[in-house]
C-alpha cells in the first residue's frame, strides 16, 4: 500500500492506455512519454503496461506501507528516500515505512514512478489510465490527493538494475521534433509553412496532457482556419486563427475543426512532452516512409532496453 503525503500539482495513475474508444470521443490517455514509463516498469520488474504514476513538474511525497521496489524515470528530478538522495532510472528496494520524495524537475516535465506489482486501481474500459476531463480510470477519474491510499499488486522483489547512462535521455536546449506535413498543409501559404519549419516555438504554460500549446512565428493560412470537423491523430498540429500551433497529445479531443498543418511522429511525442514551459523547439519535416523508419528504430530500441520487456508497446 502507498500512502500519499503530498500529491504534487498533477499526479495521475497511468497504464499504456485504452485504445479503441476514440470513435466514442474517449481518448487513449496513458503516459505522454511512453519510453520513460515502460523503462520504469521494467526496472520495477513489471510487465510494460503495469499501472504507475505520471507526475507533472513537481513530484509527490508518499510512504510505502509494505516493502516493495520502485523506479523513478522521465524528467530529471531529485529523488530522496527517507531524506537520502537516491538515483533515478534505477531499481530502488524499499522497506515498509520508507518515505519517498520527488522534487521539482530540473529538466523535463513528466516523471514516472513504477511500483513492483503495479498499482491496483479498478480498470475502466479495460485500462487503469486516468482521463481527467472525462473523470475516467485511475483513482475516481481524478489526480491524486493528500491522504489517498493506493493498493499495489503483490509481486516478488525484482533484481536491482540500472539503465545504462548512455540510454538515459539528455534534455536538449532546443529539441528538433520530426513531423509529417498534412493532412491540411495545402490550407497554408508557402510563407506559413516556411515559418512553421523555421521556428523556433516556445512551450506555453497552459500546455497539458490534451495538447502542447506553442508560441512563435505566425503560421499564415491560405484560405481560412476552419475545416469541416474531422479526426485528430496523436501528434496532430492544429493551427487556429491566431497562427500558433497546438500539438495534440494523449488526452486529446477526438475530432476538431481547425486546420492541421502536420503530425508529430509517435517516436517524438515523448520528447515534445518533456519540453518545459518557456523552452523552445523546432520542427523538421520528414516523409511518411522516413517516419515509419524512425518509428521502427524507436520501437526496436525500446524493445531491447534493459534486455527487453513483456508485452509490446501499444500501436499509436
Amino acid at each position: 500500500m502507498i500512502r500519499v503525503v503530498d500529491p504534487g500539482p498533477q499526479t495521475t495513475v497511468q497504464d499504456l492506455g485504452r485504445p479503441g474508444h476514440l470513435r466514442d470521443g474517449i481518448p487513449p490517455s496513458g503516459p505522454v512519454d511512453v519510453r520513460a514509463f515502460v523503462i520504469a516498469n521494467r526496472l520495477a520488474g513489471n510487465l510494460d503496461g503495469a499501472a504507475g504514476l505520471e507526475c507533472t513538474l513537481l513530484g509527490p511525497r508518499f510512504t510505502v506501507e509494505t516493502a516493495c521496489a520502485i523506479a523513478v524515470t522521465g524528467a530529471d528530478a531529485p529523488v530522496t528516500v527517507n531524506g537520502e538522495a537516491a538515483p533515478a532510472w534505477t531499481t530502488l528496494v524499499l522497506a515498509a515505512g520508507d518515505t519517498v520524495r520527488i522534487g521539482a524537475a530540473r529538466a523535463g516535465v513528466r516523471v514516472y514512478v513504477a511500483f513492483s506489482g503495479g498499482l491496483d486501481v479498478p480498470p475502466a474500459l479495460g485500462s487503469r489510465a486516468t482521463y481527467l476531463r472525462g473523470r475516467l480510470g485511475g483513482v475516481e477519474g481524478r489526480g491524486l490527493r493528500r491522504g489517498d491510499v493506493l493498493r499495489v499488486f503483490p509481486a516478488p522483489s525484482p533484481p536491482a538494475r540500472r539503465l545504462p547512462a548512455l540510454e538515459v535521455p539528455s534534455f536538449e536546449a532546443e529539441p528538433e521534433i520530426r513531423v509529417v506535413l498534412g493532412p491540411q498543409a495545402d490550407r497554408f501559404t508557402a510563407e506559413g509553412i516556411a515559418a512553421f519549419l523555421g521556428g523556433p516555438y516556445e512551450m506555453l504554460p497552459q500546455s497539458d496532457r490534451m495538447g502542447a500549446r506553442l508560441a512563435g512565428p505566425r503560421i499564415a493560412h491560405a484560405r481560412g482556419h476552419d475545416i469541416i470537423s474531422d479526426g485528430i491523430a496523436l501528434g496532430s498540429i492544429q493551427v487556429p486563427g491566431d497562427g500558433q500551433p497546438i500539438v495534440l497529445l494523449v488526452d486529446r479531443q477526438s475530432t476538431g475543426g481547425y486546420t492541421k498543418i502536420a503530425t508529430v511522429g509517435s517516436f517524438d511525442i515523448g520528447r515534445i512532452g518533456q519540453v518545459k514551459p518557456g523552452q523552445r523547439v523546432r520542427f523538421r519535416a520528414v516523409d511518411v516512409l522516413e517516419a515509419h523508419r524512425l518509428r521502427r528504430s524507436w520501437e526496436a530500441a525500446l524493445a531491447g532496453a534493459l534486455g527487453g520487456g513483456i508485452a509490446a508497446v501499444p500501436a499509436a
Binding site: L22, G134, D230, S254, A316
Partner: protein, 223 residues
C-alpha cells in the same frame, strides 16, 4: 480517408459504411477508426502493414462502401425539457426567428436527426438536419461553461453537450439523460449512425427522470 468535402447524409453514410467494412474485414495493422462528417481517420501500426498496402486495401473497401452494407440504424428517443431555466436562450432564439417559443419547440422536436459521428468530448453527438426555419448562426460570444445535457442549436447543427464544457450554441433546453457516464460499463449512449428524436417533457417529468437517472433506474427508449 476523405470521401468528400461537404456535410451530407450521403457522404457521411459512405464514411460509416467504410468503417463498418473495416470492422468486418479487420485488415492487418488497423488499430482503430474515427468516423467524422466526410472522412474516416484510420489508426494503423506501420510495423504490421505498409502505407501503400494499407491505402490499396482501404481504397478497395471504399469502392464498396454504400448504405446497403450498414445494419439498420437505432432510433433513440431523448426526453428534453424546453424550459427557460434549463434552456436560457429559448426566448431569445424564438424572438430572433420570429416564432413563438411553442412553435420553435414543436419544430425542433418534429424531425429525426442523424448522428453523423460522436466526438470532441466523450459521447457528444454531432447531428445535423435542423429545419431551415429554426436555423441560427452560433452565439457571438461562446459561454465558458455549458452544463451537460444542454441541447443547443448552431446553424444546421444541433448537439447535446455530454460533459460540462465551453459552448457557442443557442441553448433551448436540457435532457436528464446522461450521454456520458464514466461509471457505467458502457459510458457513452449515442453512436455514429443513430437516429435521434426529441420528446418534449415538462419540468415535473424532467425532475422525476433526473432523479431516476441519478438512481440508475432509467434508460432512454432505444428502438
Amino acid at each position: 480517408m476523405e470521401l468528400g468535402d461537404e456535410i451530407s447524409v450521403e457522404i457521411n453514410t459512405r464514411v460509416r459504411a467504410l468503417e463498418f467494412l473495416i470492422q468486418h474485414e479487420a485488415p492487418a495493422g488497423v488499430v482503430e477508426t474515427v468516423p467524422t462528417f466526410r472522412s474516416l481517420l484510420v489508426y494503423y501500426d506501420p510495423g504490421q502493414v505498409g502505407y501503400e498496402t494499407l491505402c490499396a486495401t482501404l481504397g478497395a473497401l471504399a469502392a464498396q462502401a454504400e448504405a446497403a452494407v450498414l445494419p439498420p440504424a437505432r432510433l433513440v428517443e431523448i426526453p428534453c425539457c424546453y424550459d427557460p431555466e434549463l434552456g436560457p436562450d429559448l426566448a431569445a432564439a424564438a424572438e430572433r426567428l420570429g416564432l413563438s417559443v411553442d412553435e420553435l419547440v414543436s419544430l425542433h422536436a418534429s424531425v429525426e436527426y442523424l448522428v453523423y459521428f460522436v466526438g470532441f468530448t466523450p459521447g457528444l453527438p454531432y447531428m445535423a438536419g435542423v429545419p431551415d426555419r429554426i436555423q441560427l448562426p452560433r452565439l457571438p460570444t461562446p459561454r465558458v461553461k455549458v452544463p451537460p445535457g444542454s441541447v443547443g442549436l448552431g446553424g444546421a447543427q444541433f448537439c447535446i453537450y455530454s460533459v460540462e464544457s465551453p459552448g457557442g450554441y443557442w441553448l433551448l433546453g436540457r435532457t436528464p439523460v446522461r450521454l456520458y457516464d464514466p461509471e457505467a460499463a458502457e459510458p457513452t449512449l449515442l453512436r455514429a449512425g443513430d437516429r435521434v428524436r426529441m420528446r418534449r417533457i415538462d419540468r415535473v417529468e424532467y425532475d422525476a427522470l433526473a432523479a431516476r437517472v441519478s438512481a440508475r433506474d432509467y434508460q432512454p427508449v432505444i428502438a
